[in-house]
C-alpha cells in the first residue's frame, strides 16, 4: 500500500508560471529601451540606474528583514528589481545620486511595503516615487540633457560621470534643456504658435528616442517593441495599452484638427514623454489595475484622458504619473462596479429567467 502526505485540493497540476518568471519577462521586455537609453545618455545614466536599482533592492531587503523574514527568497521574485528599474527609467539621466536613492526609498517603503508588501499596494510604487520626486525636487527632476552617447567625443567620460552623479556638477548650460513637451508648454506661455515652436522638431528622431528625456522613456519604438513582446507572451493583455493610446491619439486628433496651432498632433503626443512606457509597463501593473477586460478598458481610457488633459491644459508638461496615480485610486471602484457576469445569473447577480424555446 502506497501512502502519501495530507490531502491537498485540486488542481494538482499547474501552469508553468510563477511570479518571478513574470517579473523577469517584464524586465527582459524593458531591456532594449533601457539599453538604448543607457547608451544615449552614457556613464552618468548608468551610475544613476545602478544606484536606483541597488537601493530599491536594499530597501526591500531592509523591510523584509524588519518583518522577520528572510530577504533573499523575496528579492528573488524580482518585484523590487522591477520597481527600481521602472523608477530609474523615469528619472532624468543626469540626476544626482540621491534622487535615485530617495526615489527608491519612496517607491519601496512608502509605495509598497507600508501596505503590506507585494500585491497589497494601492498605487504603482514607481509612479508614486516619480510624482513625489517631481513635486519635491522640481529642478533636479526637470533638467534634461541632450543625447550624449557612450564613447562619443562630446559625451562625459567614465570619470566625469562620477562628478555629475555624485558631486552634483551640472553639465554646461548649452547641453541642458526641456523635453519636447516641456518646451512646448514654456513657449505657449509666451504666446508662440506650434508651427514656430516645432520648427526643429523631428518626429522620426523622437520615435527612435534621439531626444532629450527621461533615462528609458525616450525610445517609442523600443518600448513598443518590448510591450508587444509582452503581449505576445501573454504577460499583459491588450486592453489597457490599446485603450490608453487610442484615447490619447483620438483626443489629440480631434483637437489638432480643430486648432493645429494650439494643440499638438497625435503623432507628437504618442512619441513624447512617458506615454509608451506608461501604456505598456506602468498602467498594466497587475496590482494596481482592474481585474476585468472591461474594467481595464475603462482604466486605460481614464489614464489616456487624464494624460491628455494634464499635458494640454495642466501646469505640468507631462501628466502620466498623475494620471496613473489617479486611476490607481479609482481601481477598487472600477472593480466594484465592473465585474464578469456569473454563469446562470444576470449582471446584477439574480438567476436568469428560464428561456425555454
Amino acid at each position: 500500500m502506497i501512502k502519501t502526505q495530507k490531502p491537498n485540493s485540486g488542481a494538482h497540476i499547474g501552469a508553468k508560471t510563477s511570479v518571478s518568471k513574470i517579473m523577469w519577462q517584464v524586465v527582459l521586455a524593458l531591456m532594449p529601451a533601457t539599453a538604448f537609453g543607457l547608451w544615449c545618455f552614457g556613464w552618468p545614466a548608468l551610475n544613476l540606474f545602478i544606484i536606483t536599482v541597488a537601493s530599491a533592492l536594499f530597501f526591500e531587503a531592509f523591510c523584509i528583514r524588519l518583518s522577520g523574514r528572510l530577504a533573499i527568497p523575496v528579492l528573488m521574485d524580482g518585484s523590487a528589481l522591477l520597481t527600481g528599474w521602472l523608477l530609474a527609467m523615469t528619472l532624468p539621466p543626469f540626476a544626482p545620486w540621491w534622487i535615485g536613492v530617495v526615489g527608491s526609498g519612496l517607491a519601496i517603503i512608502l509605495g509598497k511595503q507600508v501596505y503590506g508588501g507585494l500585491g497589497q499596494n494601492l498605487f504603482n510604487p514607481a509612479m508614486l516615487a516619480r510624482v513625489a520626486l517631481l513635486i519635491s525636487f522640481p529642478i533636479e527632476m526637470t533638467t534634461f540633457v541632450d543625447v550624449s552617447p557612450l564613447f562619443f567625443s562630446h559625451s562625459p567620460g567614465f570619470i566625469d560621470s562620477f562628478n555629475i552623479t555624485f558631486a552634483g556638477l551640472s553639465p554646461t548650460d548649452a547641453r541642458v534643456g526641456a523635453t519636447t513637451l516641456g518646451y512646448i508648454k514654456t513657449e505657449f506661455s509666451q504666446h508662440h504658435l506650434l508651427s514656430d515652436i516645432l520648427k526643429d522638431y523631428s518626429g522620426t528622431l523622437n520615435m527612435i528616442g534621439w531626444t532629450r528625456g527621461s533615462l528609458g522613456e525616450t525610445s517609442t519604438v523600443l518600448l513598443a517593441f518590448g510591450g508587444v513582446w509582452l503581449l505576445r507572451q501573454g504577460i499583459i493583455q491588450w486592453f489597457i495599452p490599446v485603450s490608453l493610446l487610442l484615447t490619447v491619439a483620438l483626443l489629440a486628433s480631434v483637437f489638432h484638427l480643430w486648432d493645429s496651432e494650439h494643440y499638438a498632433s497625435p503623432w507628437l503626443h504618442l512619441n513624447s514623454g512617458a506615454l509608451m512606457c506608461v501604456a505598456f509597463f506602468i498602467a498594466t501593473d497587475y496590482v494596481t489595475s482592474p481585474n476585468t477586460p472591461a474594467g481595464q478598458l475603462v482604466f486605460g481610457a481614464g489614464c489616456g484622458l487624464l494624460i491628455y488633459v494634464i499635458r494640454t491644459w495642466g501646469a505640468y508638461p507631462e501628466g502620466a504619473g498623475f494620471a496613473v496615480l489617479l486611476m490607481n485610486a479609482a481601481t477598487p471602484l472600477i472593480d466594484h462596479y465592473i465585474h464578469p457576469r456569473i454563469y446562470g445569473r444576470d449582471r446584477k447577480g439574480k438567476p436568469l429567467e428560464i428561456s425555454k424555446s
Binding site: S9, R65, L66, S67, G68, R69, L70
Partner: protein, 188 residues
Amino acid sequence: MYVLSAIVCLTLLGLFLGLLLGIAGKYLKVESSPIVDELESLLPGSQCGQCGFPGCRPAAEALAEGKATATLCPPGGSVLAEQIATLLGLELDLSTVKEPELLVARVSEATCTGCTRCFKVCPTDAIVGAPKQIHAVVADACIGCKKCVEVCPTECLQMHPIEVTLRNWRWNKPKPLFADNAEGNALC
C-alpha cells in the same frame, strides 16, 4: 437695541426648543432598551453559565452595557460572536474566538442504572429513557451543557467529541502565507 432684541429672540427660541425637547423626552420615551431582549434571543438560552454570568439574561445585560465582549459565549462560537457584533455594531477580531470543541454526552450502557436523574435535568430533552431502563442521548439535540454528567450517580455519562464522518468532514483552511516565519520576529 439690536443687541438686546437679538438676545431676547435667541433666548426665547432656546426656551421654546428646550421645552419641546422636554415634552418629547417625556412622551416619546422608550420604556426599556430592546437591545437586551434582542441579545437574549440570540444567546442559546441554556443558562449554562460558561460565560461567567449567572444566565443568558444577565449576559445579555452585560453585553448591552458594554461590560462583556461579543466573544463571551463559548457554545455559540464564531457564528454567535458575529451576530452579536453586527447587532451592537462592534469590530470583531474572529481570530481570538476559539471554536468550541463540540462535545456530546454518551451513555455507557454497562453502568447505567436507569435512575432517570439525567433526563430530568436535561434542558433540551436530549436524553430518552424510562425508569429502570438504559437511557440514551440523542446526539443531535445534545448541547453539551454537562448537567447530566454532574447528576449521574454512576458516572456512566461521559462527554465525547462529536465523531467526524463523511457527512460532517470539512476541508481545512489553507495555512496563511508567512504563518511559519512571522514568529521569531527579531526586530518588532
